[in-house]
Symmetry: C2
């Protein structure tokens, strides 16, 4: 993972770690916020995308990269590819918000639209890979992506000593798996926790069952956390994530509010889930030193206004 | 001012300096944002309040401090006094928002309400000083306050080399006067600019006239910038501020939007004025290195939602 950190360093920001006395008092713990909402294009996804692309051979790079995503990974892939001057083909469902398509195009990505279902997505992806010879990079179920995402926690561990716990949100599991690996290798006495929306609790159910339980009908504003785990992220989560804390939609919005009002930072609902989890479990965290990965800040201002207006 | 910096250092945050490639591209300049929106209680006012209180004798401290303010300075005074365990008496107009009164009380300040006019305010202040023997500290027209506010620019100059320009908002002038003094003494080849709302353009008019022109009927959402200059801030502004850039309400809101959407940070309208000024004058700033004091982040989420909903 140190190699990944060195590899992607020219293409990403080393994001700051912020603290807030008011939130420390409210939580009864010392909180260290790793601000990936300040990352390039607004989320940690840049780390994994850049790491995956940088592992390609020169010949592969010439043919470009392909992925499917309607969210931050689409933008991260397009921007990483643009920085390395290689083509990016992004399969997006036709009902993706125009603002997200515009962002991908703004970073020079070519969008391939498909019907909003899994079969259509895989068909569209297969076709574009066949047509272009581009290398497929999965948004989270990919070892290089996982290693890249883990560098956020690695930096946090380098910047802050003696963390008792690091907590990150879990969706498909790329971020939390990378975080757990970073903690396991570089600070084995630190525990890794995950925050997950109660309305998309497949990681929680998977841990309970001992095998992957797919997410069928996710109901949450945390749009980055609606996916199922993958077969590469799941074993890491199973073995190295100590606890998954479920939080309600109200708790997610309350955490966003704390981050806006007290820390003066914009964090998307998925990113606020980790703080919501801390507030929920503060009895267990009294006096602890807790690192929090604020995963991203890409929230539409109209949506934000809707939460608080 | 180095003495002030050392004096207040235990009581304030050394706030981070953030950069943003997207905003650099939009402005055509290199921008360095001094994030006083992350300062304790959410604004630079902590610096001046702490510096003024720390200059009092032990005997004076026992009798406490008094000021009049309906805004950030009221909270800054209350919190600074609380940290030093001395009484704070804050004269506030009776129509101040309840949330601001609650914040002052939360920091242990005693509120003295008065009718919302200058005569009532001065009478209330006179009475409380007579009753308690508290030392009056003016929110901006005070040398110790000015020196304290200047430490934000001083830190920025310490952290970033070769700035061509530093820009800060101007209201009563405490921040801009302190900024101009810091620049004058520690980086004389840097220029100091001010941003001011066109609807509260008394500093601009004062510079044009060569004497203080009072602000009579301010019309701006930048509630920290509605006051007139003072006789201690004015001469510094007259002599050391090269240019005052007027910005419209729409430009202020557009700057807040950029800060929220691109930098993921919450800045109050008064704080966004400096960025609005840069965007307005970007033809003059091409290729320059520009420091920006983001003065504060205390904006009600309902108000914020109103701007962008």
């Amino acid at each position: 993972m140190l190699a990944a950190q060195q590899r992607i360093q020219p293409y990403i920001h080393r994001t700051p770690v912020l603290t807030c006395q008011t939130l420390d008092q409210m939580a009864g713990a010392s909180l260290f916020f790793k601000c990936e909402n300040f990352q390039k294009m607004g989320a940690f996804k840049m780390r994994g995308a850049a790491n995956a692309i940088l592992q390609l051979t020169e010949e592969q790079r010439q043919r470009g990269v392909a992925t499917h995503s309607s969210g931050n990974f689409a933008q991260a892939m397009a921007l990483s590819a643009q920085m390395l001057d290689i083509p990016a083909y992004i399969v997006m469902p036709s009902n993706s918000p125009e603002v997200k398509k515009a962002a991908v195009r703004g970073y020079g990505g070519e969008i391939i639209e498909c019907e909003p279902n899994l079969a259509a997505r895989e068909e569209a992806l297969g076709k574009v890979v066949e047509r272009t010879g581009a290398a497929f990079v999965h948004p989270f179920n990919d070892e290089n992506v996982i290693m890249g995402q883990g560098t956020a926690a690695l930096e946090l561990l380098q910047d802050v000593d003696n963390l008792d716990i690091i907590i990150a949100p879990v969706g498909g599991g790329g971020l939390i798996a990378g975080t757990a690996l970073a903690v396991h290798h570089f600070s084995p006495k630190t525990k890794t926790w995950a925050g997950e929306p109660a309305g998309a609790n497949d990681a929680y159910e998977s841990k309970k069952a001992g095998h992957i339980v797919p997410q069928t009908n996710p109901q949450t504003i945390a749009d980055g956390l609606r996916t199922s785990l993958g077969d590469k992220t799941w074993p890491i989560i199973r073995d190295h994530v100590e606890r998954i804390v479920l939080v309600s939609e109200e708790e997610i919005i309350a955490a966003m509010r704390l981050l806006l009002e007290r820390m003066k930072i914009v964090v998307e609902p998925s990113g606020a889930v980790a703080l919501a989890a801390i507030m929920k479990e503060k009895a267990l965290l009294a006096g602890k030193r807790v690192g929090i990965i604020l995963s991203g800040g890409n929230v539409d201002l109209k949506a934000l206004a809707g939460f608080f207006g």
